[in-house]
Symmetry: C2
Subunit: 423 residues, 2 copies
Amino acid sequence: MKIIPLTEDVSLKRSIDQGTEEQRKAVSEIVTTVRQEGDKALQQFTEKFDGVRVSDLLVTNEEITKAYETVSEETIEIIREARDNIRDFHARQVQQSWMTTAANGTILGQKVTPLDAVGVYVPGGRAAYPSTILMNVVPAQVAGVERVVMTSPPQKDGTLNDVVLVTANELGVKEIYKVGGAQAIAALAYGTETITAVDKIVGPGNIFVALAKQQVFGTVAIDMIAGPSEIVVLADASANPEYVAADLLSQAEHDPMASAVLVTTDAHVAEAVAEEVKKQLETLPKREIAQASMDDYGAIYIATSLSEAVDAVNELAPEHLEVVVEDPWAVLPLIRHAGAIFLGEYSSEPVGDYFAGPNHVLPTNGTARFSSPLTVEDFTKKSSIISYSKAAVKQHGEKISAFARLEGLEAHARAIDYRLKEK
Amino acid sequence: MKIIPLTEDVSLKRSIDQGTEEQRKAVSEIVTTVRQEGDKALQQFTEKFDGVRVSDLLVTNEEITKAYETVSEETIEIIREARDNIRDFHARQVQQSWMTTAANGTILGQKVTPLDAVGVYVPGGRAAYPSTILMNVVPAQVAGVERVVMTSPPQKDGTLNDVVLVTANELGVKEIYKVGGAQAIAALAYGTETITAVDKIVGPGNIFVALAKQQVFGTVAIDMIAGPSEIVVLADASANPEYVAADLLSQAEHDPMASAVLVTTDAHVAEAVAEEVKKQLETLPKREIAQASMDDYGAIYIATSLSEAVDAVNELAPEHLEVVVEDPWAVLPLIRHAGAIFLGEYSSEPVGDYFAGPNHVLPTNGTARFSSPLTVEDFTKKSSIISYSKAAVKQHGEKISAFARLEGLEAHARAIDYRLKEK
């Protein structure tokens, strides 16, 4: 890893795959075809892209039962415990509708309503990602969304991964469709004979899924389009280089474009971490990916003071931030921009990826400056409530009319005037 | 207005100006030029589009003082009272950071942080829109945003509208720039010598402003791209046709593409409202606009029951909904999709546009299915807090490693394992 003295121009090297013109065109065609031809198009695209003909898109109870045969009781117990932790944390995010009343009869308020229907996209590929299901489905359920639908591309044999099915079932998800890619996103946005359209689509995916989500945005809501994963570790002399290196590598193994950065006030820690990264890389199964990430996007910055280091962290606005200093809680109030903040040397990032409870869907690419982790609120919307009594209109009506006329909106003013003329 | 029996296929006719290819290209060039050339480009575009050379973009104290000379004390008092009402309502939306602790030393939480800097775009044109300033600036200030900047296109004499300046000053906005259009949005997103970049841009504008906001989205956050205004009135036999007609027209006068729709269970009310609309239109200053809106986007639907009418309202998911029935509070729980809900015949929509307190920036174009009014939360972001103790890692670490391995992420698992091996 490069060791660099911290200058004012600190920045995370970041790349986001925006897709090629060709990919955008391909996605646009898929979306249009699914919108026009429904299930037939879903089956054709699935045959083309996933190499399997799926006659029935909906996962059956038999398939779920069968999936349990291959998943160990121990694994199921871990999934359940993670689920319960995630539920417990997100339950604390639930917002109440509220109102305020005034003696003149005015009632104002804010009504919180869960979305009607949400679609969760779960990527396919060789590995199963039960944590994706937990992190996207649980907040929707906690929000009170009645219909939570899942889609995932089928494997070559036409089934979904057993762990995926078991995790979905442990959450009580009843509607699971064996369809992936841009065609799944189109189906969720516009509906087909089998799949009723939803109001919001969440969950990660490849570039085709991301481009499809961008294209249907507006017809439905979408979550963020996530960039490659990022970690910044803020460390002083007290940090354990072995832990720091391991945590940097845990992000680096995700993606050759993932960013793993150390900002430290201690030159010895910088060197020891660089050494440890080298050593730990040697035996890592995803060594090539992690090595590429470290070479191209990794860096160790040396700051001359903790305050300078904190400024750098805020400048970077990372997705994940670990604060590994003697008194991490003293640093917390100074952190302005980070998706998730891990405090102290035992708060290794994987603790938050799977188990602790907070969401692992976090703002990437510097958007922690203005974006938040996925929350229960993302699965609700608000309506303002305004109830004015006759007395309230009599009391304030003339001011409201005058304001409307100030903006040149006479019909607005008259709507109030009609109410004022009545005794 | 057309009177139509309610069928299952109820829909608001809606149009959104997406801009032409030419407009998108023009905006893209403006944004690029401002990004490269800074203030110089701002001045050139202002000369070109606003027909005035503005040497100093920043509004001076002298300009503010002068603005007060032409605005009446009465107007200022109304603006202040509206400001206080809006502040009071939005103060109730403020969220607290929170945490939860467990006996094993785990601390989890959510930190709420205001955005660093927000830019509010205020449209120019013949009329002044002080309500736009109030509704966009107040929630940002209540959220705790330290730097709230305003931009607005200069008038032909190089100044801003006096009411705009007075309103901004009554809110304590110190940074006001005389620049509008796509060039203002580019300056807010990328910064120039004079204007430091912000983190989020809010406020309405013409198609050039909307397209520029779309183009800078990602670099900064933006609010919604608003479509034409919409109102749906849900009325039974108890409704006063004069009031209903006036409220429909108050939306129609905004825009020839605005939608004003009545859904009623009473055929007599339907006819009486149609009659009243005709009558009230005759003397309206913006008669042509309102007439065009009513002809092209207006409709009166007759429902056979209140329940059918409510279903139609939810299907329409309007920006503004007035519930003018005998017992509006009995209907409220049934309303799932509406930006703002006005209850009872005295809750005329203009009450909410200017004065009552709730925000008038509301989801249009059916997005009330999944979007909310502008809130204080839109000017904050959250960070998750995760602090695991040594004891907590010892207790749960093996499960976390196992979960990581389930997903094929060995470096994640090892990051935990390193902590477990220590006594």
